[in-house]
Amino acid sequence: MAAKNLTTQEGRGNRAEAHSNGVLAVEKVTKRFGPHIVLDNVSLSIEKGKTTVVIGPSGCGKTVLVKHLIALLRPTSGEVYFDGRRIDNLSEQDLNEVRTHFGFLFQGGALFDSLSDFENIKFPIRQNNKVKNWREVEELVKNKLAMVGLDGFQNYYPANLSGGQRKRVALARAIALNPEVLLYDEPTTGLDPIRSDVINELVLKLQRELGVTTVVVTHDMASAYKIADRIIMLHSGKIVADGDAEHIRNHPHPDVQHFINGQVSEDDLAILRMSGTASQAQFHPRDFEA
């Protein structure tokens, strides 16, 4: 009950805040896939020039939320704004211009596998006619790759790169048009801790050097604490916590504490115990500190 009250209060706070000074805002957005509600009346505003991190367990709607910000998905109900302009009701043709203000790093990188790194980064530049001179394009691609520490990898193909390198090339492509907003979908997933930290440092570097508004979706708490100015936690399609790292660490909501401490909840444990395996003892949570 206490948890529910907290959720409601945070929700009201967010709705009042939406539109106030945000470059991006979603207002009362609900998204359904068939009977399944993924986002449930979510409202939030993203502050310009800051790094906002969206955390939450797998399947809670983080990726769906970030895809709404660039209108790759349209809400079932509710509104999405960019720079005060409503974008969720625009045609795909009108959205093409809006999307040039964004850079999006997809979870798997989504590099065009038939193109080399050079061609991948050149793609948004040529498609949007930003630079016409061939030498300038070459120089620009070189600069973008240098920013992510991969200058010299121009002629490599995505298949020849490691997971971390692929994400960095994808990041170079995302910043090719000097976007105002950078959206990252699980940038450190599938990477070892060192490569994850390289990506975290890159997020910070790009935010510092380009002054972009950054939204990062992750369930990597070390990454969230390191890069976030503000952390938002989604749970079952609703925002259950919203504040800086300290606020999240001390948040009283049990779901928030379970998530940030990486603990399985009693409900999940009960389900596992009911599944009837030979040894039920294995489902007692281990206490590593004991």
Partner: protein, 270 residues
Amino acid sequence: MFATLGARTIAGVGNIGQFGRFCWQTMGVCLRGCWSHKTYPLIWTQMHIIGVRSVPVVMITGAFVGMTLAVQAYDQLAEMGFEERLGYLINVSVVKELGPVLAAVMLAGRVGGALTAELGTMNVTEQIDAVRSIGTDPISYLVAPRVLACLFLMPFLIIYANLLGILGGYFVGVVQFGINSWAYWNFSASGVELWDVAVGIIKGFFFGGAIAVISCYKGFTCKEGAQGVGRACTEAFVASFISILALDFILVVVFKAIYSTFWPFKSLIG
């Protein structure tokens, strides 16, 4: 049971609507793409993949069709003493029907499957979303060049299939069965009018467009995972095959009506 039937009907109508919208968008983008120099390199690349690389397989198909027809028809014609008219029969069959339809079926199998698999993989690995996120219309970048390449090159592939079909028939009829060469060519020329050749080529535009649009649509809407891509490829081929046969029937009826209408005026023209 009624609920399932209703849900399937609604889903079916929804799919038809979605496909109709996809076709409409593609048509608009293709018309614009024809005049945009930015599209030309993309069309050129696709023409090489779709057209040039399909030439050998289409030629082999055409040759075997012609040879098989000759073997099948020779005995029956010889019984009636009409074996010298073998060229007539082969030309009419190949140019009017078998050449265009079988070349289109080969293209549906070779190119349609590849298009669906390529775009389907791009879809499930979020590459199509990546194109959109960059501010580029995926239909204009991915679909239009493929559709235009199929549209422009299918008629040429049909010409190759027809040519090899006739030569295949010649090889079996003249070289193997010893029909008079002059008779073969003479009857071949008398059996087929320019109109028949033109109809076969016009059919190619429709077949090429249908194969490309269906294959691209199936790729764009394929479900997640390897199974989803595999299923989309199968569905694309089946839908393309049925469309080719259905379009062939419709076009034959339409062109026959046009021919019958203008037949009386033919003598006035030529």
